[in-house]
């Protein structure tokens, strides 16, 4: 039995974070939902936190990525350098290709 979901993104891929507001223990910060960024690296695969919080196994494990966003995309009135960036860990089931 395969206990890990296969990674579907690679570094450099453009992704959009799902704009969803389910209840429960979600590790995707609100401010980043709906934002477009690029995959910085695959961090490995980990049991889903939403499931773990319900005392279930969280399996199959979901790939976890670090996704890089430009600050000026996330905050239109951002003050700082044009290259200033924000990196957030996001699970694959929260990402779609952009």
């Amino acid at each position: 039995m395969n206990e890990t979901v296969q990674p579907s993104f690679k570094p450099g891929d453009r992704v959009i974070v799902r704009k969803a507001w389910p209840l429960g223990h979600i590790r995707t910060p609100h401010y980043i939902r709906g934002q477009v960024g690029s995959i910085e690296r695959l961090c490995g695969s980990f049991p889903m936190p939403e499931e773990l919080a319900q005392q279930r196994s969280g399996l199959p494990a979901q790939p976890l990525y670090r996704v890089r966003f430009l600050q000026r995309d996330v905050w239109p009135d951002y003050r700082g350098g044009a290259d200033d960036a924000l990196e957030v860990e996001i699970f694959q089931h929260w990402l779609d290709p952009a």
Partner: protein, 204 residues
């Protein structure tokens, strides 16, 4: 329980939960009071010296630095530091990039290297402002960065833990690893400060 002014304060919801859980674990023989006490003492006594040792080693040993940046957890094991369960990512400051760490969701922090997080790290203002206006936050810590330095904020939201590998300051040539570790503060490894050679008292 008494506060600083000697007034009686009822336990908060979470304090009550902690006491209940602890008493149940002890009552059922899963833990002893001594074990709980020893663990709390161990956590409280841990400071940022482990992290400082890792940074100092990276400064003097390019091979170690490369391994640290490639796999922080494994590199720490070389120094006998076990980073249990969670994975460590070291992010390197360069003349062009400054890194800063936050956990907007709670207070995830590389405790195995830095000890318990400072109160401000867990505060709402830091957690919300670090991702929204990092340069203003850094300026309040006394770190004004020019616009050509890219500020990269790492929101520690899931299973990784981050530590900043600061730049070795000029004027520290020939310093021993131990002396170098002495200028690597907790704040340098969170990314709200940078190590400075001046101000560190030279050792005889």
């Amino acid at each position: 329980m008494n506060d600083d002014h000697g007034r009686y304060q009822p336990l908060s919801y979470f304090q009550l939960m902690e006491v209940s859980l602890r008493e149940l674990l002890v009552e059922k023989g899963i833990l002893t009071e001594e074990q709980v006490h020893a663990t709390v003492q161990d956590m409280r006594s841990r400071g940022a010296e482990r992290g400082a040792a890792v940074v100092a080693r990276a400064w003097v040993d390019p091979g170690f630095k490369a391994r640290l940046l490639a796999d922080g957890t494994k590199a720490c094991q070389e120094l006998g530091l076990d980073v249990p369960a969670l994975r460590l990512i070291a992010v390197e400051n360069t003349p062009a990039i400054h890194n800063m760490i936050v956990c907007t969701l709670c207070s995830c922090y590389p405790r195995m290297l830095l000890g318990l997080p400072p109160e401000w790290y867990k505060s709402r203002p830091y957690r919300s402002r670090a991702v929204r206006e990092p340069r203003a936050v850094l300026a309040e810590f006394g770190l004004a960065l020019p616009d050509h330095v890219q500020v990269r904020v790492h929101d520690s939201t899931a299973d990784m833990r981050y530590v900043v590998l600061p730049m070795r300051p000029a004027g520290t040539e020939g310093w021993s690893e131990e002396r170098l570790a002495g200028i690597v503060t907790r704040d340098c490894m969170i990314g709200v400060a940078v190590p400075r050679a001046a101000g560190a008292a030279p050792r005889p």
